[in-house]
Amino acid sequence: MKYTQDHEWIKVDGDIATIGISVHAAKALGDIVFVELPEAEAELEKGDDAAVVESVKAASEVYAPLSGVVIAGNEALEDAPETVNADPEGEGWFFKMTITDASELDDMMDAAAYKEFLESLD
């Protein structure tokens, strides 16, 4: 599992990355009420707006952490956005995409580094 400074996580399985938001992000947003997912086959550049996650009083963009093509969104979130609160780094994943350039993963933090990063924010 890798993490970004935007509090997203990326799990790599061969050429495919699964993306979601971290436990910290889910907690900070509060009760999540809606997730807007990217459409399959959407081509994303690293840093593009990919998804939106909303609580009652806040909306946040989820950026594409990598460049690639969206394979699928987690449609279960459409009816049950609360899954993101319950299991943000598991069942609450947002979307899967192809990896075009594996070197984009290099800058990302591992779990320990992300923990350190979070502590530095306090």
């Binding site: 992000a25 509060g30 009760d31 806040a58 946040s60 609360e82």
Partner: protein
Amino acid sequence: MMSQGRPTTPHTSDAVGHETVSGNKALAQRELLIFEIGTPRRTGIDFPELKNTPSRLGGVERTQEIGLPGLSEPEVMRHYVRLSQKNYAIDLGVYPLGSCTMKHNPRLNEKMARLPGFADLHPLQPHSTVQGALELMGDLAHWILTLTGMPAVALSPKAGAHGELCGMMAIRAALDAKGADHKRRVLVPESAHGTNPATAVQCGFSIDSIPATEDGRVDMDALKAKLGDDVAGIMLTNPNTCGLFERDIIEIADLIHGVGGYFYCDGANFNALVGRVRPGDLGIDAMHLNLHKTFSTPHGGGGPGSGPTVLSDALAPYAPVPRVESQDGVWHLVENVEDADGESFGRMTAFHGQMGMFVRALSYMLSHGSDGLKQATEDAVLNANYVQAALSDVMTPAFSGTCMHEALFDDRFLKDTGVETLDFAKAMIDEGYHPMTMYFPLVVHGAMLIEPTESESKAELDRFIAVMRSLAVKAVSGEVEMFKAAPIYAPLRRLDETRAARKPVLKWTPSEG
């Protein structure tokens, strides 16, 4: 990712008192929806008989049932009177909603707006039949221009945000006329109303956010660093949303003009300046007025507003149509872009703006006069400072020094108490007050923005201050449960906003009833 989270799912706790058989609680009557009371076959209006002549509706006559319930007149009266009693109102008590300016709404203004010679006029009547109405618009324009020290005003915007759109469209039109299509960046302070960035984007601009200084004002160094040839302008509220006058405003205007940009001033807080400062002397190019704030046309539970927008000489040629003009004592409307002087950017609404609000606002202006308007401004500023001074030892003012028409506190005084800004606000409800604006502006943590307005007497403010002080003490002394459970005396307890947003139910459906 960002968030300043706050609880949106209420805590449950034991109900207070006992439930009555009826669901009513003395004067507080339970009330169903009209769909549960009325039926489509009933009506509360008597009509003459139809003649049943052949129709010319072209074969698309309605055949499906609409489902709209009808109620008799007494049922309608009771339904809405009961519902009205579930609302807080400025006529009931202190309504210190910062940035919203909940001042007294004089009933003379209501009476004047209902004169048939204003209320029963069609917007497309021949000009010869509406000379008094056009003159009233001209009079209102004269008051607005004199109070703001500006050369031109567009009356048609329907609310504050619509006025912002008017000003920003004029700026965009002026830039386009100069061929300045590289100027697309608009500077907006972090403390700005959300309407500012939303409006700029509707005019094809991008937003560049400017941070605030420690004392709650525009960071001049950051502003200077962001200046460049691509800057279209700045949108700045003055006094700003922290209730503070932007001391460097003239320098800001000069800097923006220096790079060929325009200065949009959000006039939501003009009530702090009327009669004491003319925005025209501050170098601004456009500013909307909220007639429903500064000039006391009623808020009506969320409108209608009215947002006349003053424009500098540089922007006036681009003002929207229709425009009211007079020639040799005869008034007329210029309704088409082709007939207008300059290069009007077009039309913003079907007709001429909120005439009903124009009458009310002019009635308010005439009643006050130049002396009364100045006094109202001073009293509003004094009341805000009095509240700030009287609470500053138990709550935490966000910034040091005096304020303008509203006092901003943050939640430092609640640190480690377990009580949050939201809980504090809900406790105020039980005490009989409408809460202040909370969690805005965003530049302050757990913001509480209190705007008492000039309409409050000293005695009323003293009672309010005493209650606020007691609540602050209770919070600090650990009475968390009371705050978390609040309100318990309102018609309803805390509402589950999470549920409303997750599974939106936006209309009544028969299956539910």
